[in-house]
């Protein structure tokens, strides 16, 4: 997979200028997305993962600004230098997006057909009749029964899972090269979650598109992503392929996240939780942003921000003491074995 990346995010900084001060929601984020792969971005709420995805499409609300020096290179073009008109031709066409709550992400006063056809008519040179046929095809493809009938229904007439399928149909109607899925299954029942993720995988195989899968659910990432970016406090803490990160995490935060997943194979009295709370983005700790919650931290951590370093091939970690995590891991593995 060592090709040119489809999307390169470089030193992305997105600041919100509020009355209380500057919120550095995303503060120097780098990652690449390659054609046809799924990149998972995982982190707690407030880690900057959603802001990152909105920044790629330049859909931040007016208070949020992408700072000078940030670069978002898509297909060789820096999206941040495009005009609003050029950007509009990319949205929904080359890069599409689906959101968390299909209930509120679909416009309640238009039929799902209207909303899918709108995307088709905006980006493709077809007439209304053809667009309607294409919309019906898309609905069939995402597994909506009786698409000829359902196309004229309003969002409130569909179930949550069906709505998310309609949302996916809309996003994929112009065959985008990149699909950004922001918590696509969080609002759905667990059984429906699996169906929707399976559907996304199938369509990815068929269309060969890349997916950025944003979620706080480590399990979803583990099963669906090829590579993972762990975000915390607006910064990338760790990134590598999914197996490496989840088998041998090197950042204390990733380690904490993985430990807080309930496990059925070992007996646990209490589920682990990372101590403390997500810091207020107006008052991030000086030095490493995780320092005030970190079990492995030393004095140095609250003074200096550790750099993101490549500790193994294609495995980057932002921690001075990552070897402590390695040791802790060995110990706990040994403990399990005993």
């Amino acid at each position: 997979m060592e090709k040119n990346p489809l999307l390169s995010v470089r030193n992305l900084r997105t600041y919100f200028y509020t009355e209380d001060g500057v919120v550095k929601a995303v503060d120097g984020v780098d990652f690449d997305v390659y054609e046809g792969e799924t990149l998972g971005i995982v982190g707690e709420s407030g880690s900057g993962k959603s802001v990152t995805s909105l920044a790629i499409l330049r859909l931040l609300d007016p208070k949020g600004k992408i700072e000078e020096g940030s670069e978002i290179i898509f297909n060789g073009k820096n999206l941040l230098t495009l005009t609003e008109d050029e950007m509009r031709r990319i949205r929904g066409n080359d890069i599409a997006m689906i959101f968390q709550e299909p209930m509120v992400a679909l416009n309640p006063v238009f039929t799902i057909g209207d909303q899918i056809m709108e995307a088709i008519l905006l980006h493709q040179d077809v007439d209304k009749k053809k667009a309607r046929e294409m919309a019906i095809d898309m609905l069939r493809k995402v597994g909506i029964p009786e698409p000829e009938k359902r196309i004229d229904e309003y969002p409130h007439e569909l179930s949550g899972g069906m709505r998310q399928r309609a949302m996916i149909a809309m996003a994929l109607s112009c065959r985008p090269k990149l699909l950004i899925a922001d918590e696509p299954t969080t609002a759905l029942d667990v059984t429906i979650q699996a169906q929707i993720l399976e559907l996304m995988k199938e369509l990815q195989r068929e269309y060969g598109m890349a997916i950025i899968l944003i979620t706080h659910d480590v399990g979803v990432i583990a099963e669906n992503a090829d590579r993972v970016v762990v975000m915390y406090g607006g910064k990338v803490m760790e990134t590598s392929d999914v197996r490496t990160t989840f088998k041998t995490p090197k950042h204390p935060y990733t380690w904490g996240l993985l430990n807080s997943i309930p496990r059925l194979d070992i007996e646990q009295e209490r589920l682990y939780s990372i101590p403390g709370m997500v810091p207020d983005p107006l008052h991030f700790p000086v030095g490493c942003r995780f320092s005030n919650r970190c079990e492995f931290g030393e004095e140095k951590c609250s003074v200096e921000m550790p750099p993101l370093v490549e500790v193994e091939s294609a495995h980057m970690v932002r921690c001075f003491f990552y070897h402590k995590v390695e040791q802790a891991q060995k110990l706990s593995k040994a403990g399990e074995g005993a």
Binding site: L54, L57, L59, E84, R88, R89, I90, R91, G92, N93, A96, M97, F99, E101, V104, A105, L106, N107, P108, V109, F110, E118, A119, L122, H123, Y154, H156, M167, M170
Partner: protein
């Protein structure tokens, strides 16, 4: 939908019955002499002798018990006879019907500036939130909202009539009135300005227009305020909704995002407010009619109330309740048109 409309229309007689019963009983504090006025043509009332009056009191059952009197009134009302209007100097029904076209005309002319511009300003304010345009519109709205209508009406009259001489009070000038009343002027819609156009009398049309502009400006300025505030807050709420972001993520242009995706949703609460404004306009606007010396149903009702002309009060109240019920029915239907989630039934 059809059953919903039928059910609502079936409510109408019940409401009318209730309203009439209340007004009718309130007026029973008046003596039989005063009540008799409702049954006698006002043009001959003063010429009657006291013996003749006694005979009439007997004839109309004014000395009979309440239930019987109400029964007589109701029976006559059902036959379309609402009695005589002392204020209107004619039968009550005729008095109402002859004034309603003036009220309707003012309502129609005020509708476009009041509703159209009000919504337009509200959307503009929301889109330019906290910018200069928004601040300007909001100050404008607060001023309009806090201005008493009689003060603003008088100001308009002072500036545009006394000083500039553009928009005179009244309904028509003397000469135009004569043309309208003449045999050769065909009354087709009973709306003066439209009839003038249909008769090919541009001069009369222009005269009617000059007389209606003052009240329209007054109504607009005062009523915009409310509508634009509702529209602005509704629009702001909708603009922060996720489906607006979805539309942008699809590549929809900013114009369509605002005027198609957002506005359609923002109109849902506005329909109720705008609908109630139209009902208010159709019920007549007493103060505007008095200040601008216009004929209209609001003034008829107010004069009747002041003079204890109970037949006219009853008649206009019944008219209001019919306008209100039908108006609300139309609002509910429009509601369902704007919001597919609403099912009438």
């Amino acid at each position: 939908m059809t059953t919903f409309i039928i059910r609502r229309l079936l409510l109408l007689p019940l409401i009318v019955l209730g309203v009439s019963l209340i007004i009718f009983s309130l007026f029973q504090i008046l003596g039989p002499d005063k009540l008799l006025a409702a049954y006698v043509n006002p043009n001959v009332f003063d010429k009657l002798s006291s013996e003749e009056l006694e005979v009439l009191k007997e004839k109309y059952g004014l000395t009979k018990p309440f239930a019987e009197r109400y029964g007589i009134w109701l029976w006559n009302a059902l036959k379309g006879d609402l009695g005589w209007s002392q204020v209107g100097k004619d039968a009550v029904l005729k008095s109402i019907l002859s004034r309603f076209p003036y009220t309707l005309e003012l309502a129609l002319y005020a509708l476009i500036p009041v509703v159209g511009v009000g919504i337009w300003l509200g959307v503009a304010a929301a889109v330019h939130r906290d910018k200069f345009l928004d601040q300007f519109i909001r100050i404008f709205a607060i001023v309009g909202w806090s201005f008493p209508d009689f003060v603003f009406g008088l100001l308009i009259l002072m500036v545009f009539y006394s000083v500039l001489g553009w928009f005179p009070p009244g309904t028509l000038s003397q000469w135009a009135e004569e043309i309208v009343k003449s045999e050769s002027f065909h009354k087709i819609t009973h709306l003066v300005s439209i009839d003038a156009l249909l008769n090919g009398r541009l001069d009369v049309f222009w005269d009617a227009l000059r007389h209606i502009i003052g009240p329209v400006i007054t109504l607009s300025f005062l009523w915009w305020a409310y509508l634009l505030r509702i529209t602005r807050s509704s629009m702001l709420e909708v603009l922060s909704k996720e489906y607006v972001r979805t539309a942008r993520a699809k590549g929809v242009s900013e114009h369509d995002v605002i005027h198609k995706h957002a506005q359609r949703n923002a109109m849902i609460p506005v329909v109720t407010v705008a609908g109630n404004m139209v009902i208010g306009l159709l019920s007549g606007t007493v103060i505007i009619e008095v200040i601008f010396n216009r004929t209209g149903i609001g003034r008829l009702a107010a004069d009747a109330a002041v003079q204890l002309d109970y037949a006219t009060v009853l008649g206009t109240t019944l008219f209001y309740s019919i306008v209100l019920v039908l108006g609300n029915l139309i609002i509910d239907i429009l509601y369902a048109v704007f919001d597919p989630r609403v099912r009438l039934g």
